[in-house]
Amino acid sequence: MLAFAFRRLLSAIPTLLVLLALSFALIRVAPGGPFDAEKQIPPEIQERLNEVYHLDEPLYQQFGRYLVGLAQGDFGPSFQYKDYTVTELIAAGFPVSLKLGGLAMLLALFVGVSIGTLAALKQNSRTDHAVMGVAMTGISIPNFVLAPLLVLVFAVTLRWLPAGGLGDWRNLVLPVISLALPQIAYIARLTRGSMIEVLRSDFIRTARAQGLPTLEIILGHALKPALVPIVSYLGPATAGIITGSVVIEQIFGVPGLGRYFVQGALNRDYTLVMGIVVFYGVLIIAFNFFVDLAYRWLDPRVKL
């Protein structure tokens, strides 16, 4: 297991380097630099600025400098929010996004696995068709369409819940649901498929023959093997929730990383935007690493 973890960790290094190189290259090719002001800068000052910010060095040295900075947790200063470093902004925004995304993920897993199992137990019944119909709707309605509709119904018309902002738990209900619904749909479909397969296998038939109650068969025997495809879906699900949070935070006015990203992109705050991309990229790579470990634990036959 340890050797496996080590090998897997090594294979994450090229991925990480490609991520950093791509993000560095993107900043470099972006038209317009931070010092392109309206007024003409005298050439001596321009030279001095380039020197201070190391823009006169060859590219590979600049890239090295960028890597060393990142390794020390230094994403550089923000161009837009004066007096803040990008690291400070990420530290401010991430807990908010984490709360939102984490709750959405938990909700998606719990509801998705439950209704998927239910559908598998009653295959081809009305319950099954209803669950799969809802799942298809969840996949087909993008969350940036769903979110305004939810606001229209529950905030504007019924006035049950606030339409946005950040306060107590009631502010979280609509964004978390909007974020979780597409994932609930995917997880329910995956669970149904794998659960049907597991329920057909011999060891479940044996358990049934011994007269175990259905609930115990599901929880004690069928759930672990049936969860294998769901665990491997956790990586894409996390990426989906992170991407979704970009629009959801925008719609509900939640001051998380996704909102900083959109504002930063529109304001051409290059360092902030790249900082967030690198931060999330590293997060996804790390997450995939742990998912692979969990995968291996669930299904020892897996070789990666």
Partner: protein, 290 residues
């Protein structure tokens, strides 16, 4: 004299199976109606995409003024705008899928057919790219290089080829061992021609299924970008852009949100159902999956 018995090809079987799938057939019918509406219906309206009706700003749907879906906050007709938006959304869906198709098939078939070290290296690249937060890169490209519709095609197509490459490679690996490929190789056909003439045509079934499932994903990405204001620009529009406009005006003019949102959702719904139906019909391995 009876006519000689007709053989049943894979395609005959698939067509029969698809025809029996009520959900898929309904989806195909609805999709045909949506496409017909998007192509021809704007001609029926007296309004054009950017003409403003100053006397009727933000009015609800009304048949008497021919504003069947109402107007937006500058008096533009939403019926016409929704359907023109649909043209853009569907066009992006098809064009970007084509881009991902070409890259994905070429990459996957080459890797699968070459096998060995080449295969390992090529698929390793796919793995690495898979872990990239591409949506963020696409947003940045849009911001840096302007909101150009061709850039959307390429950017979105460039993300979506990864799945296609993996599927095509898997299929190629299993096809490679079949006798007819062996026969072609024994007959002295070049590798390039084997891939082009024998491998790629046999991948068609799987590819069609994934094309149907890629189109809604691509439409979704375009809508996502347009929703953030980074997709198509005024006076042109797309469903995502219209949903964004509608969401901002929904308290006073809910119809501006509901009509484009419905069209977008129905289209995605239909593509997903058609894709599922085609998968059941053409890809027997996945038959049990939801």
């Amino acid at each position: 004299m009876s006519a000689p018995a007709k053989g049943r090809s894979l395609w005959d079987d698939a067509w029969d199976s698809l025809r029996r799938n009520r959900a898929a057939m309904t989806a195909i019918t609805i999709m045909a109606i949506v496409v017909a509406l998007v192509l021809f219906a704007p001609l029926l309206s007296p309004y054009s995409i950017d003409s403003t009706d100053w006397d009727r700003i933000s009015i609800g749907p009304s048949a008497s003024t021919s504003h069947w879906f109402g107007t937006d906050d500058v008096g533009r007709d939403l019926f016409v705008r929704t359907l023109y938006g649909g043209r853009i959304s569907l066009l992006v869906g098809l064009a970007a899928t084509l881009v991902s198709l070409v890259i994905g098939i070429t990459w996957g078939a080459t890797a699968g057919y070459a096998g060995g070290k080449v295969d390992q290296f090529m698929m390793r690249i796919v793995d690495v790219l898979y872990a990239m937060p591409f949506m963020f890169f696409v947003i940045l490209l849009m911001v840096f290089f302007g909101r150009n519709i061709f850039l959307i095609f390429i950017a979105v197509g460039a993300i979506n080829w990864l799945d296609m490459a993996r599927i095509v490679r898997g299929q190629t690996l299993s096809l490679k061992k079949k006798e007819f490929i062996e026969a072609a190789r024994a007959g002295g056909v070049s590798s390039f021609n084997i891939v082009r003439r024998h491998i790629v045509p046999n991948l068609l079934g799987v590819v069609i299924v994934y094309v149907t499932l890629t189109i809604p994903q691509v439409i979704l990405v375009e809508s996502f970008l347009s929703f953030l204001g980074l997709g198509v620009q005024e006076p042109m529009t797309s469903w995502g852009a219209l949903v964004n406009d509608g969401a901002q005006a929904m308290e006073t003019a809910p119809w501006a949100l509901i009509f484009p949102a419905t069209f977008l959702a129905v289209t995605l719904f239909c593509f997903n159902f058609i894709g599922d139906g085609l998968r059941d019909a053409l890809d027997p391995r996945d038959r049990r999956e939801g």
